[in-house]
Homo-oligomer: 369 residues x 2
């Protein structure tokens, strides 16, 4: 099976084996060592000297933690979004009573920092900005460094980042860029099964936490902070994924983040180039196209569901469809984590065989893009 | 290593192996089959024809889900507690703005249904009762069937149950007893690693949900209900523990719940008897002593930390200490999930060797209790 969705991702065999290790006491000395080691490794990947905590949730749980730990009902929040996960970020905030202004952008082009500047200029009482670094639903990487330059550099507002499908795959420098909270999850670039989420928390986020009145218990980072000082998690965590994380971080840090980012850039470029050679078109504007997931337009007259069904059944290649308004209009090819050129070539070769079966008659086959 | 704590528990090798299975698409047909099959199996174990949902959280996340999905800020809630987890249940409710009345009981004796009757008589506006079935912190099993008889049978109030260390180990008949929400977690009687929690939801709980105004997003059961109809989880779940759950349920249901309960009753009786033969005394009143975890008094003059340290270092037997007010006063021996008589005998034999090293001079060694 060639699992080419934007998470869960294929997990290397040696990391999968760690998942079968026998259980240990999550409040004992052996776990304490693992917890301290992986927390240190996570900080290196996040490029932060601030705090990083490990939650047993999906990425959505970590997005919720970012909000409820820093905000109060009634707080004015700007949600800059261009896709399903951007929308979700704002929805979580409004669910907890924040006064959310949605600043939406064309899905293919992503978030524009200039529009955020304008919104902050005219909204001096906006306390926080929510933004998704890499929008998994559209295959667009938003220009987070420029966005942070505006939000922090020019206006010094709280910056909460959904980095779920970016951290550990795309460059993201938490401290240098000024991200106050960054949320991510294990089943993405980390080369791990799902089950854990990671969240960074800056000094400025702690200041906001002191006044943050949204209710929280399981997701309250102050409990994670208190217990981490004792070398323990506050609640029983996904011990197996912790074991796997320990090995994954060792491999990632030994490889070096520069190489990890380069691998993802190559996978993204190879996927985009191959897709275009098949006569298909990319959904995202190429200048903002993501190196962790590629969104491809379903050609006119082609049944996207049938296309994905044939890819899976006849070639063992699992792709993802579009979400919400993009359902049936795009399909997505994941290439985060450990993706080889064989994985990508295999998926593209299968596409080449399946496309004629779904009545695709390219007008531009063979044209280099 | 003989892991004798009240979770995580030792996981049988064949179930551990399932944890290493390659990832699949959590929105694909293969996962859908697993999701429907395990949901059906969970309902059999819970003894419910109502709903059961699978959360990627610890047990505490499921306790929070029980509360935020059924209550509103200002709702009057009775929290009947006799230990750390009972306290936690009430604390979560008050964190979200419920008006909580704490009805506390002596730790060794547990919750008394008559006192709940008195409290409900004098509190006609109490909407819900929170109770822990098996108090992991004290080794006491509260009389849930009698409690439910009062709460539901006599007063028809909402009954929210922490069944974390009881479901799948001790008899609990969700529908027949009238439990509206029961929360439990994978690392207990289910013979699984931690990483998933399970929550039952009755028709009456859904009625409460319609008016429940506490904020929730990741834990909102209505999303789990909507997605389950499509054969999907709303958010990326711990796929590996789902694979393991699939096998664990097959084993448990093949064995039969009667045999599972009998195994736990035998493990509890053997542990209590063995502990007393060593001249130690039980913390819990024996009539309410739990069959999933045994709390033992640390004898006068004995350093409990040193006792547990020697057990671990010299014999590879991992026991749990006391929590909160019981820290240093008790230690706990877990026997939930798949516990053999060799596991218990081994732990008791190690205790017999270690006790003299921590200056324990029993006054009653050899006296049968």
């Amino acid at each position: 099976m060639n699992l080419r969705i934007p998470g869960p991702i294929p997990v290397p065999d040696d990391i999968l084996e760690e998942m079968s290790r026998p259980m240990i006491n999550h409040r004992g000395p052996e776990f304490k060592e693992v917890l301290y080691r992986v927390t240190d490794g996570l900080k290196q990947v996040f490029e932060t000297e601030g705090d990083v905590y490990i939650l047993t949730t999906s990425g959505t749980g970590a997005m919720e933690a970012a909000i409820v730990n820093t905000l109060s009902p009634g707080d004015r929040v700007l949600c800059a979004s261009a896709g399903a996960f951007g929308e979700r970020f704002g929805l979580i905030a409004s669910t907890y009573g924040a006064d959310v202004t949605d600043l939406t952008f064309p899905l293919a082009g992503g978030v524009d920092p200039d529009a955020i500047r304008d919104a902050l200029k005219s909204g001096p009482d906006i306390k926080a900005v929510l933004v998704v670094h890499n929008e998994t639903s559209t295959g667009v990487t938003n220009p987070l460094q420029e966005i942070a330059g505006v939000v922090k550099g020019e206006f010094d507002r709280l910056l909460l980042v959904d980095g779920i499908s970016s951290v550990c795959s795309l460059p993201l420098s938490t401290d240098a860029w000024g991200c106050d909270v960054v949320a991510t999850a294990s089943q993405k670039g980390w080369m791990l099964p799902p089950g854990l989420a990671f969240i960074s928390f800056s000094e400025r986020a702690w200041q906001a936490h002191a006044d943050a009145a949204m209710p929280r218990y399981y997701l309250d980072v102050s409990m994670y902070k208190r217990y981490l000082e004792m070398g323990q998690p506050p609640y029983t965590p996904s011990v197996s994924v912790m074991f796997a994380l320990d090995l994954a971080l060792e491999k990632i840090l030994n490889e070096g983040m520069g190489s990890v980012f380069e691998r993802h850039a190559e996978a993204g470029a190879a996927t985009r180039s191959g897709v275009k050679k098949l006569g298909l078109t990319l959904f995202a504007d190429e200048v903002v196209a993501s190196n962790t997931v590629t969104a491809v337009n379903v050609p006119d007259g082609v049944d996207g569901t049938r296309l994905l069904g044939l890819m899976r059944e006849e070639h063992g290649v699992v792709l993802a469809g579009g979400q919400q308004s993009l359902s049936g209009k795009i399909f997505r090819i994941g290439h985060m984590g450990y993706t080889t050129s064989e994985d990508i070539d295999g998926a593209l070769a299968a596409l080449a065989e399946v496309l004629p079966k779904v009545s695709f008659a390219p007008s531009r086959v063979g044209v280099t893009g």
